[in-house]
Amino acid sequence: MLNKYPMWKNLMVMLVISIGCFYAVPNLFGEDHAVQVVATRGAEVTASTQAKVDELLAGKGIAVKRSELENGQLLVRVQNADQQLLAKEVIAESLGDKFTVALNLAPATPEWLESMGGSPMKLGLDLRGGVHFLMEVDMGEAIRKMEEAKVADFRSQLREEKIRYAGIRNNAKGIEIKFRDAESLSSAERFLKSRSNDMVFTDVTAGEDYTLQAVMSETYLKQIKEEALQQNITTIRNRVNELGVAEPVVQRQGAERIIVELPGVQDTARAKEILGATASIEFHMVDDKADPNAAQSGRVSAGSEVYQRREGGQVVLKKEVMLTGDHITGAQPSFDQYSRPQVSINLDAKGGNIFSNVTKDNIGKPMATLFIEYKDSGERNADGSVKMQKIQEVISVATIQARLGRNFVITGLSHGEAQNLALLLRAGALIAPVSIVEERTIGPSLGAENIENGMQAMIWGMAVVLIFMLVYYRGFGLIANLALTANLVMVVGVMSMIPGAVLTLPGIAGMVLTVGMAVDGNVLIYERIREELRAGRSVQQAIHEGYGNAFSTIADANITTFLTALILFAVGTGAVKGFAVTLMIGIATSMFTAIVGTRSIVNAIWGGKRVKTLSI
């Protein structure tokens, strides 16, 4: 029998469409005004914090809609914007500065729906307002740092192995190791090769100049860049959390760029200061053998370097880094017994071990704390990238009194600096400096305006298309309209389902465009059916042939459009990607609804019956 769908097929259509509808539903509920509480300084948000906050708000007469404790953060929903502001003040005041309290808009999805994975579409910054940064990691600096570490490595390894070398330094070409004779060069080459397989060694001896050159292997370089990017992403994520922004986005883009999106933030200056600042500390031993007079004119031995002291004057430090900021797990500003500002530092286990060994061997010797900061110099390189300025200052020199463990203090800072250093150290150091190469700030009113505009376009376009289809194809037009509506709901459903999908303004444009183009499938089928009817086929035959013949055309036409959408997605950024996503989803769902969905209805109404005429 022609035009009968088996039961499972009808069920499948119903199932797919109802799943789409189900996940689209959360978008109907809108958003609640909420206050978000996140712990920052070693504190923790617990059930008791929640109880305290609830009690506090009840005391102030602020009705709490719902308060949720999830992933170590507390979200308190209130009735309206006024209460939200009031609640934020009250909470921030009583919890103190160990917590970040931020305003938030939380989806008002009912709990039962949320527990089944239902959540509304995420809105892009162009629809909700906020700041978008594109940051670039200075890979040259990351590589230079690694080379310096290697230089120190080689030095100690050769010394351990008792191979004599004349000098080791890194320059633009890589690391250069000089020897006095060919014999020590070849034994050093053999030894170093066996130790570090991530470096490539070449003998570049010219005449009496016995030199071994070491450069990083391609895979090692790649690995360093990857690690630098990952580490910077983690650090920036930590820093963003310190800013107390609700639902921030920190994401990599390509090989050396990071996207940061801060919804709702308008104070870009503060955001930039925290995100871009690359402060770190290093501990070096003071080179007490250096001749202070020679140091004045910059003449020091190869293993040492002259640094500026913060309070003025110079000091010669050994180049070798005893400990870097990477091992720091905690940092709190405090005051010593003379009420001078200081920063208490906690190290991780590995850092603690290193530090303990270093201090044990050097009791009675002076150690310096070097503060390193990269700042946007305000100038640009020839290629337009931001020129970063490296500032290195010795903030304290102290004689090691005893073996130090995992906890100790740094002094010699002003109050503000102690605060800032603690914040930056806590958030982790950026392994390489970053610069902002793109910045977009969208006001919240513009975001709301954009949604309004998009909806307007959608309603007008959709209305005209629906009316036309109904008038032109009557019964079948109505079916197509059902399919079109189901299609739109499904696009929304799928967009809400995919965790990474974000609705942007071009995304809305993509949805609107899908409405216009989605009828194509139905038009192709219906025109075919009309043709078959005109050619004198029976009604059942016409439906069967119409759907059958149109299928390959629809498939071909849609696959090619899908290809271009895919390419758009691959090369596009931000807004263009958003457009490509909705377009791809729209193509997939419209093929389903236009072919399988309408067929199921058509079959149910006309299939297998004696029908003389069709409402087409």
Binding site: R474, L513, L583, V596
Partner: protein, 315 residues
């Protein structure tokens, strides 16, 4: 059956093919000349720089504003209305040694002299090297799209048809870019997305016609290629009119109601839909005929009924 849009008799579309394709060639040439001489008015996304969008509390005189933007960091600022006479957009170039923050602050303080209640609605800064990369990527995207399509269509149809469709697409892209160049409309990222969508849309149209041509070649055994093409275009004409119509309606809705931020996108699509629709007939099909497409070329394509021998996939 309401059939105002369908054609009863086969129309000899190809009779006008020569003059129309000459016109198309002139359009393409003109576009290329304009692209070469006037170039494209690249938007911020591609050139880099800073854009500040402001909303004044009342209509504001642009000349008065311009006369206030005299600070050295604002040299070469472009000031224009954006949407309404209260909304003003200022475009600033990247200046060596000057931060974009300074430029923005300078614009805002100068604007406050006119209207203290001025609101900053949007600020965008794009570094020049980012823009350049984007332009390269965009060009590459269009090229990759065309090549992918060439491969897909040659695989599914035949190389003459594939070449025809890609020529039609290239034609659409060049003419759309040409119009942007002649009228110096701003070309930003959304416009690029629009152009790529045009590629997809126009191809959609071409494929529908080609599909019918392939089918008719097999059905109409004794006919000349011209006749087959004419019949195919006639048969698909009502579909073309309806789909183009509905798409145009929503694009016009986007153009009129969608707001200024997607104006460029809607403009590119409006243009592209017109150009794309006629190019599928007068460029794609006509070129395939000139390349000597005939019935034999269609015979070995066994995959034609690919959809049909999989009943489970079928509706």
């Amino acid at each position: 059956m309401l059939e105002i849009l369908s054609l009863k008799r086969t129309v000899n579309f190809l009779r006008h093919a020569l003059p129309i394709s000459i016109m198309s060639a002139i359009l393409v040439l003109g576009s290329l000349v304009s692209l070469a001489t006037k170039g494209i008015n690249w938007g911020l996304d591609f050139t880099g720089g800073t854009v500040v969008e402001m909303e004044f509390s009342q209509p504001v005189d642009l000349n008065q504003l311009r006369s206030l933007y005299t600070a050295p960091e604002l040299d070469g600022a472009v000031v224009q209305n954006f949407g309404s006479s209260r909304d003003v957009l200022v475009r600033l170039q990247v200046k060596e040694g000057i931060k974009s923050d300074v430029q923005v602050a300078s614009v805002m303080s100068a604007s406050k002299q006119v209207d203290a209640a001025v609101q900053q609605k949007r600020v965008e800064f794009v570094g020049p090297q980012v823009g350049q990369e984007l332009a390269e990527q965009g060009g590459l995207a269009v090229l990759v799209a065309l090549i992918c399509i060439l491969i897909y269509v040659s695989f599914r149809f035949e190389w003459r048809l594939a070449l025809g469709s890609v020529a039609a697409l290239a034609h659409d892209v060049i003419v759309t870019l040409g119009v942007f160049s002649v009228f110096q409309l701003e070309f930003d990222l959304t416009v690029l997305a629009g152009v790529l969508t045009v590629v997809g849309y126009s191809l959609n149209d071409t494929i529908v016609v080609f599909d019918r041509i392939r089918e008719n070649f097999l059905k109409m055994r004794k006919s000349e290629p011209e006749e087959v093409v004419n019949v195919s275009i006639t048969q698909t004409m009502s579909r073309t009119i309806i789909t183009t119509g509905t798409t145009l309606v929503v694009v016009v809705a986007l153009f009129l109601k969608g707001g200024t931020m997607i104006h460029g996108f809607a403009t590119a699509l409006l243009l592209g839909i017109f150009v794309g629709t006629y190019s599928s007939i007068y460029v794609a099909s006509y070129l395939a005929i000139k390349l000597g497409i005939c019935r034999e070329h269609m015979m070995p394509v066994e995959v034609e009924k690919e959809g049909a021998d999989q009943p489970s996939m079928m509706p």
